[in-house]
């Protein structure tokens, strides 16, 4: 169960965002993608998730090219994006439930409990605070478990209590043999995580 990115190149509007990017991520390992604004952190994560086609290079999961067999790869990862993907008129539980079932999971109750959302479960998502929305969004990771987590700014709008809570969850995930690809501005206190700096990549081929 290894994720290998090889010689990735990202071009947006004729501008090269990054090129010659490669890494190997094995079970129990995490990669923390760093870089300035516009360095391509989100682009890299979207590229791994298959939303953005690399102009060049390959992404391999379990020895299979993810572009050739995207469906089997998609089963094995969860992607947390900037946006919360919550429907304002659905309740917290309905939101989590929909994404869990869509990704083939059913651990909704456990997810609500872990992220301390039980008392909010029947609240429509439109009246949640930013932090509560983020937790509802993150709850998807627990409600429909997958070995690879792709996390784009998972800590934004969380207070220290929930940052600690999520750090513990991530640590547990990695210790259990999971993989994580993470982009965040906040500092995160984790071992087993390699730092990958997009700013120092330029010129490296």
């Amino acid at each position: 169960m290894t994720l290998i990115a090889d010689n990735l190149r990202c071009i947006r509007q004729d501008r090269v965002i990054f090129k010659g990017l490669g890494f190997t991520l094995g079970p129990g390992q995490g990669i923390w993608v760093k870089g300035k604004n516009g360095a391509g952190k989100s682009s890299l994560l979207r590229m791994i998730a298959g939303l953005l086609k690399p102009s060049k290079g390959t992404i391999t999961w379990k020895d299979v090219d993810t572009q050739e067999e995207p469906e089997s790869f998609r089963q094995d990862f969860r992607y947390i994006a900037h946006q919360d993907a919550l429907k304002p008129v659905l309740s917290v539980r309905e939101n989590i439930e929909f994404w869990a079932q869509y990704h083939g999971g059913d651990k909704v109750a456990g997810a609500l409990k872990l992220f301390e959302l039980e008392h909010l479960q029947d609240t429509p998502a439109q009246i949640l605070s930013a932090g509560q929305k983020k937790r509802t969004n993150l709850a998807r990771l627990v409600a429909s478990p997958a070995p690879l987590w792709i996390l784009d700014e998972p800590l934004s709008s969380l207070d220290t209590h929930y940052i600690d809570l999520f750090t513990d969850l991530l640590r547990e995930h990695l210790e259990g043999g999971g993989l994580a690809l993470l982009a965040t501005h906040q500092t995160i206190d984790l071992q087993r995580v390699t730092i990958f700096d997009l700013d120092n990549l330029k010129g490296v081929v």
Binding site: L51, Q75, Q83, A85, L86, K87, L90
Partner: protein, 221 residues
Amino acid sequence: MSAFFRIFSRDVRLAVRQGSALTMTLSFFVIAVTLFPLGVGPELSILARIGPGVLWVGALLACMLTLDRIFQADYEDGSLDQLMVGTLPVELMVLAKILAHWLTAVVPLIIITPVLAITFNMPLDSLGVMALSLLLGSPVLSLIGSVGAALTVGMRRGGVLLSLLVLPLYIPVLIFGVAAVEAAIALLPAGSHLLLLAAFSAGSLVICPIASAAALRLAVE
């Protein structure tokens, strides 16, 4: 298949909870159709003559106004990204959303059409064919519309462009939809027209989800 059904039922549920959108579409349809007697005069024979065409055009325009609902909200709140990284092939995901759109936005239009048809002095015998022609032809409106909606998703002022892209492609359905009703009014068999409408629907069912999926992949890039 369960993921397909999940999306379908979620979209239907969202449409039901946001009932105001449906009310607005129906109101638009009724008002747009009402303008015609006011514009051309209340003479019953003229109204009966233009009735099928007016109703079809009205339904077509009302449907077009709802097309941005298929993908726009999901694009804006990030749901589209999540839907596209599910295990369901994007083409089927699109199809589930189109079906939900058709059921929640187009079928209500079809249901009130007979009432409007009566105000246009159309013979009662033709109301069945009117509804049937819409029922068989309107999936094309949702299907072709989904391609336009996917191409313009996330655009500022996408609505005007959407109509420019989609309306010319609606013409064949309009022609045969109206022809079926006119045949029924003239007491001629309308079966062949209805079959053609069904054929258009079947053809679009194959092509449009593929094109929409390709356009959506482009949109999330």
